[in-house]
């Protein structure tokens, strides 16, 4: 058992998988350059020294090529782990992900599969609107992609290892404020949770959510950073005698909806917290599922605590108004009681 940050846990997962399987390699921008960053958030730091630059491939600034090469290598039998510097750059490679990776197995009638992993950092971190988005909902909408969003070091390692072994394209969304990256790559305002990670081999199965805190009065679903905001909100609510249950789905596709429905069945109330913009967001989908399949258990409307429908602002003065935080979650919960 060792204490480590999410960045370290991810690195350990990659290292173990590369050592286990020769087909596994990393591809991305600035991930293996000697003397470089080890990726934008240090996840691949040192791996090129260990495995050689033939298995930690530095690309030109060519997001389409990163995605396309990963897909091509995957259908040809390799197990690429593609590194996207910022989730926002996924839009540059959208054809490759949405039209190629997601659909290739289906439209080939099952002839090929695309066992690739794409890691993408998301979240508002005061870099302006083009390095701040939470894009999960775009990809949960596309059939053929699996989507995971680990919020702890344990899950980050276990889910990434599962993703590498999965036979399908898996997008791994990581939150910039949760990496715990050190030195010049550390983040202002980061939570940087450090968690215990077993020394022995383990996997976290894709598709299983987890209850982070039990409660009987309201269910709060949060992922990545908002999972921690939900826990903070639950602390505040507990002081007033309100017991919130906090659910971390961990995997967004396929979603462990039974876990959420079972919780709502118990509590009768649901708040979904996420950093995505409100309209058409992931929270809307969770709300729709519960309205559809858990309606009779609801004792109050479903509330979403999301970012408003504006691009992420830069000025720190606008942060509170933009970001979903524990106080907004507390207010949403109280509006339901």
């Amino acid at each position: 058992m060792a204490e480590m940050s999410i960045a370290e846990a991810l690195r350990q997962a990659i290292r173990e998988e590369m050592a286990r399987d020769d087909r596994v390699f990393c591809i991305g921008e600035d991930i293996g350059i000697p003397g470089g960053f080890g990726g934008a958030f240090t996840v691949t730091l040192g791996l090129s020294d260990e495995f050689g630059r033939d298995r930690v491939l530095d690309t030109p600034i060519s997001e389409i090529a990163i995605a396309g090469v990963a897909i091509g290598a995957a259908i040809a039998g390799m197990r690429p782990i593609a590194d996207v510097q910022y989730g926002d750059f996924l839009f540059c490679m959208m054809d490759q992900i949405a039209n190629q990776a997601a659909k290739m197995r289906y439209m080939s009638g099952g002839q090929v599969s695309v066992p690739m992993v794409m890691r993408a950092p998301v979240g508002q971190t005061r870099r302006g609107a083009q390095h701040a988005q939470s894009l999960e909902a775009f990809f949960t909408h596309i059939p053929g992609l699996k989507v995971v969003a680990p919020s702890t070091a344990y899950d980050a390692k276990g889910l990434l290892k599962s993703a590498v072994r999965d036979e399908n394209p898996v997008l791994v969304f990581e939150h910039k404020l949760l990496y715990g990256s050190k030195g010049p790559r550390s983040e202002r305002g980061a939570l940087s949770p450090v968690g215990e990670v077993p020394d022995e081999e383990y996997l976290v199965p894709i598709g299983e959510g987890v209850i982070r805190r039990e409660g009987k009065d309201v269910t709060i679903v949060g992922k990545l950073l908002t999972m921690y905001r939900a826990l903070q909100a639950a602390e505040i609510l507990a002081e007033e005698g309100i017991e919130a249950e906090v659910i971390d789905p961990r995997t967004l596709v396929p979603l462990d909806k039974e876990l959420i429905l079972a919780s709502v069945r118990k509590t009768g109330r649901l708040v979904i917290a996420e950093e995505d913009n409100l309209t058409g967001g992931w929270a809307a989908e969770i709300a729709a599922i519960v309205a559809d399949e858990g309606f009779v258990w609801l004792d109050a409307p479903i509330k979403r605590v999301s970012a408003p429908d504006v691009p992420a602002p830069f000025s720190p003065a606008l942060d509170d108004a933009y970001m979903p935080n524990e106080h907004k979650i507390v207010a949403a919960v109280k509006s339901l009681l």
Binding site: G268, F295, V296, W297, L298, D299, A300, P301, S335, L336, L337
Partner: protein, 448 residues
């Protein structure tokens, strides 16, 4: 649009029924085909299904009322747009109702205001805001939403409001529909009623106890008690039987020792969960097999001809709080003892709780009535028309008897066979009874 709720004609002979209870309250949503109200016929209580989906808007018959079949007793209005309340057709111009309904359908919100834009009184704004969870609980617990105090967001009724309501009320009285109707008819307050055992449902017997205690006696010194149609039906059928048939009763004292031992051995062999045969079940089985050899005992008379029934369907008299009913075990001669036992037990259970259907009360070809459990030794049963014969069974009791030439204590019982001499003569009827006796005294002969 509104659909009339019409009392369906359920048999050729019945022109009125009693409304036992409404299963929905006015203002409740109903789905087409959902049980809407319960009526009592001369055979059974029956659930009647809603003829259409919508909202139960008006009911014109109250529990306990006798209603002519084909009468309209209420209305179901479409959901969507709060329709103005319907009134008795004569009380209001139909054209006005239709016009308002049309407006309401077009503008759901317009229905909340009157024709001149004035707010309707609150009771006409029928929509009650309650969370789905609260509605679910309220429905399950029979709590009327209209009586709840809302404490949820935006004035919505939430689950805790229902829980608080339930906690504030004394436990609702458990009472059978028949008992409730009788109590209402007699003007008894629910509080005046006590169940026989703590926690048990209040039954007709409990109501009768209270009624008997009442000092109000009419001028002629008689306390006249309202009865259900089934009482009148029983009365009619009994008289018809005695007037029409040429009834003769044969009685025989029977040694039931072997039968008692046989039953004891059967019970020992049973597993948990197996149906446990009673003496009545064994007798039904024995009698059914003998009826196959004595077709005239399983027959009817149309005034000129004897009709021999193709099937052997043994009716068994059951004493219920509503009165005597005779559920029918069909093709009893073809059924194994355990199957027969299970079937008869289910029929008796349904007869006792009033859920038995008409189908299970008709079609009997022979009847067995057992008053032994009540302590009767022998009696003269009355034929259940249009059947030919009925077997009355007395209690099994130890008695001094000569057995194998020695005086000893044996288990004895009386059997009384009443038969219709128009159809079967005394000697063949006696042979039929003796065949039954022989099997009771030597049950192993069943297989011969």
């Amino acid at each position: 649009m509104a659909t009339d709720i019409i009392v369906p004609p359920l048999s050729q002979t019945m022109d009125s029924v009693v409304l036992v209870e409404w299963l929905k309250a006015e203002g409740d949503k109903v789905a087409k085909g959902e049980p809407l109200f319960v009526i009592e016929t001369d055979k059974a209580n029956l659930d009647i299904e809603a003829p259409a989906g919508g909202v139960l808007r008006q009911v014109w018959a109250q529990p306990g009322e006798a209603i002519a079949v084909r009468a309209t007793i209420g209305l179901i209005a479409d959901v969507g747009g709060e329709l103005p309340e319907f009134e008795r057709p004569s009380a209001r111009s139909a054209a006005a109702s239709v016009a308002e309904a049309a407006v309401a359908a077009l503008h759901p919100l317009a229905a909340a205001t009157g024709p001149m834009g004035q707010p309707l009184p609150p009771e006409r704004q029928a929509r009650i805001f309650a969370s789905p969870r609260a509605r679910r609980l309220a429905e399950a617990e029979g709590v009327p939403l209209a009586e709840l105090t809302a404490s949820g967001p935006e004035g919505m009724i939430v689950e805790r409001d229902v829980i608080a309501y339930i906690a504030s009320k004394p436990a609702p009285m458990a009472i059978t529909p028949v008992a409730r109707r009788l109590a209402q008819a007699a003007g008894l307050e629910p509080a005046a009623l006590q169940p026989a055992r703590p926690g048990a449902r209040i039954t007709r017997a409990d109501v009768d106890v209270v009624l008997a205690r009442r000092e109000e006696v009419s001028a002629d010194g008689v306390q006249w008690v309202e009865v259900a149609p089934i009482r009148r039906t029983i009365a009619r059928r009994m008289v018809a039987s005695q007037q029409a048939a040429a009834e003769v009763t044969l009685t025989r004292d029977v040694d039931a020792t072997e039968l008692v031992e046989l039953r004891g051995q059967i019970l020992e062999e049973l597993s948990d969960g197996d149906p446990r045969p009673t003496y009545t079940d064994i007798l039904v089985s024995i009698v059914a097999r003998q009826l196959a050899r004595h077709p005239r005992a399983n027959a009817t008379w149309d005034g000129e001809r004897i009709g021999l029934y193709a099937d052997i369907n043994v009716a068994v008299a059951v004493d219920t709080e509503r009165g005597l009913v005779t559920p029918v075990v069909r093709n009893a001669d073809t059924k194994g003892l355990l199957a027969l036992t299970a079937e008869r037990a289910a029929l008796v259970r349904q007869a006792l709780d009033g859920t038995i259907g008409l189908d299970d009360l008709t079609g009997g070809t022979f009847t067995i009535t057992n008053l032994g459990p009540i302590g009767i030794d022998a009696f003269t049963p009355i034929i259940n028309p249009p059947q030919t014969a009925i077997l009355g069974v007395g209690r099994i009791r130890p008695a001094a008897a000569v057995h194998n030439g020695e005086l000893c204590i044996r288990q004895r019982m009386f059997l009384s066979l009443t038969f219709d001499h128009r159809i079967i003569d005394g000697a063949p009827a006696a042979r039929f009874l003796m065949d039954i006796v022989r099997l009771i005294e030597k049950p192993h002969l069943v297989w011969l």
